[in-house]
Symmetry: C3
Subunit: 136 residues, 3 copies
């Protein structure tokens, strides 16, 4: 059976999303199946009008600017570019939570990189045989 990582993304903070993207990219490069489910702030962060200008940090906010600069200095790709590349090379599916989509009043066309809108039950069904399950 193919190995699988299942990531529930609640966060919309770009520092946590960067940590997530490094794991998702690594898993895709190892030929693991990568399943991602976006909840509240996750859906928000994948909105076309938010993705590229979002500067929210989850912690150590006083260091946000210098840390963001440091990431650029190292030419580390942005989290969404890492995820885009992971989708191109690997078996990566991104789902958005139907409830969160109602909250932000968005459909698939308003979101980037998202394959499908599904409910929590369908998500759990996909997650329950994963090797690694994370809530980010």
């Amino acid at each position: 059976m193919v190995e699988k990582i299942s990531i529930t993304i609640f966060t919309g903070s770009i520092d946590r999303l960067t940590g997530m993207a490094i794991l998702a990219s690594g898993a895709a490069a190892m030929d693991m199946e990568v399943d991602i489910f976006l909840q509240l702030w996750g859906v928000y962060a994948f909105k076309k009008d938010v993705m590229r200008k979002n500067m929210e940090f989850s912690e150590h906010k006083e260091m946000a600017e210098s840390t963001a600069k440091r990431l650029q200095e190292l030419n580390l790709p942005m989290w969404f570019d890492m995820l885009k590349e992971a989708k191109e090379i690997g078996n990566v599916h991104i789902y958005a939570c139907s409830t969160a989509c109602r909250i932000w009043d968005v459909g698939l066309n308003d979101l980037e990189l998202v394959d499908e809108i599904i409910g929590a039950g369908a998500w759990l069904e996909k997650s329950k045989d994963a090797n690694i399950t994370l809530f980010i």
Copy 2:
């Protein structure tokens, strides 16, 4: 064997608790066993004198008020009401960390929806055969 989701709730933020409640409700509706363990801010958020007036958001705090309003507009139940219903329909157990209970100086009578106070070892024992494990 029955399928199980095991959720360690560290957070006391109502946005993250809402994401958790949607997963827990979904799992209960699917007849999964749902085990929940409350750590520091989790125990705080389940205190009888805190649960209903807690307005803490984990991120995007400048949008907290408008987002909370939007949840009401959609008639989305509060996270604790979702959890209460999940306990009524499903196989849901909520445990509070004994260390966290000492920190807040609370017993079972000071907490809502909590079934038992246990230590970290007992919690890990319950978690290790779960299909899905999350730290929220």
Copy 3:
């Protein structure tokens, strides 16, 4: 096969690190294998020049001071002392993410309690057969 918990530490907040340390200590005491991988703020929090003076809280920041005092009052060991003891009694390995080490420009000598610097792929390889996987 030995039972294993696999913890990805993204956070550098001492409240979340305390929750993590309680789980890691409990697992070590139960003879579980404990594998830990530090990402961005996790590596930062394990820096020799940060570990002991870090006061960052992840949430409920207005209660940070009183909560930190309460932990001292109960003589609860600091998170890093709990982890140090867990390493002495149990099978605990701590890895730092190579990308995060480049971001902070640190090597193994700049970090406490860390055994090795590895990439995300090597980390996922270690995680995929764990009983419990958490992202903190």
